[in-house]
Symmetry: C2
Subunit: 213 residues, 2 copies
């Protein structure tokens, strides 16, 4: 059976796009689509949203899985800003300032429905790129944060202790969960993101000092 089109509708006029352009369009809209509907949603649903027939997708991607992998790549890799790491290590400013600036910048990227939902969906699927992302966060963000806190307290810098990194994860997770509540659960959330971050950062830094006695 052919993919139905309401009776009187004229055959869709073919917009022929250069293949690289079309491909980019597919990936971009696939991110939107799968973010909203989940990865189990059909390629036909995606094609309809694109205004294109379903088999055309298979001209550009060998399988649905391959398309989904490009979606991951787009969200996880392309939106990571390498300068974040540098920002945290800039010792010309107090660590509290750096952390505030970092988390404001970071959440500007990840606090949107698309990013959050792709992240959670892929996490539940247990895909490898998700695990790698967590390691990236730990190595590039949280361990440096712990080391910077050590340095600022005049403590010797060795390797970050596990329980200190764990404590940083709790701050990180707390901020992250604020985005989840806002964008996934759509519960009414305090509008002042900057304040929430400032409070979380302050509590973390004081808590860390407290922990060390």
């Amino acid at each position: 059976m052919k993919d139905e089109r309401p009776e009187g509708t004229p055959a869709p006029r073919r917009r022929r796009l250069p293949s690289d352009e079309r491909r980019r369009e597919f990936v971009t809209r696939a991110v939107e689509f799968f973010a909203e509907e989940g990865f189990e949603s059909s390629t036909r649903g995606l094609a309809k949203r694109l205004g294109v027939t379903q088999p055309l997708l298979y001209r550009y991607f060998p399988s649905k899985e391959d398309l989904i992998h490009e979606v991951y790549e787009t969200v996880y890799v392309n939106r990571w800003r390498p300068e974040w790491a540098g920002l945290i290590g800039d010792r010309s400013r107090p660590l509290a300032d750096r952390l505030n600036e970092f988390y404001n910048a970071y959440t500007e990227v990840i606090f949107n429905r698309e990013w959050m939902r792709i992240y959670l969906f892929s996490g539940l699927k247990g895909v490898d790129i998700n695990r790698r992302y967590m390691q990236l966060v730990r190595q590039r963000i949280l361990e440096p944060i712990v080391m910077e806190a050590r340095a600022e307290a005049g403590l010797p810098e060795a390797v970050p202790r596990d329980d200190e990194v764990e404590f940083a994860w709790v701050m990180h997770g707390g901020i992250f969960y604020y985005g989840v509540r806002d964008l996934i659960y759509e519960s009414c959330v305090s509008a002042d993101k900057q304040q929430v971050i400032a409070d979380a950062v302050a509590a973390f830094l004081h808590g860390l000092a407290l922990k060390r006695g």
Copy 2:
């Protein structure tokens, strides 16, 4: 085409269970099943895991959706402990002690793969019970915590301020995210849950005092 069974296999012997017992079994295993495979997974997959044919499910539940609703009910409602609320309000002990005890008890219930995954899956689907659960947490847990902190600081108790509740959400989310990392992302996580909770609680209480200047 009939639901295949490898050629030589004898017809499955029928275990006839009393209907209420069978029903309980179905719901219990459906929780396991959907937690692991997601709600998009097939009723045939569930039936196979139950060692039962797929149409039998429809003797007990009018539709897949109805079965899923019972799964929600089982996880969200049945595992909530009403005594949690009382625990937080017990002013014969320091608030820090109460919060530690509460979060140790609470995470004993929710820190398991089943609960966590059902929670995240249903959250992404945007089902109503998830929203109601978030309100429950806010009203029965977080707002009381904020009020208890006020009381302990000798401050007048009025209604909890939004930014204070938000701050409590960050602690709560941080602890929750610790479970997510452990059970969903299966990243190696500090084994000492009790320590993580103690640190988070201490940082929260000090941070709250700090916030108020």
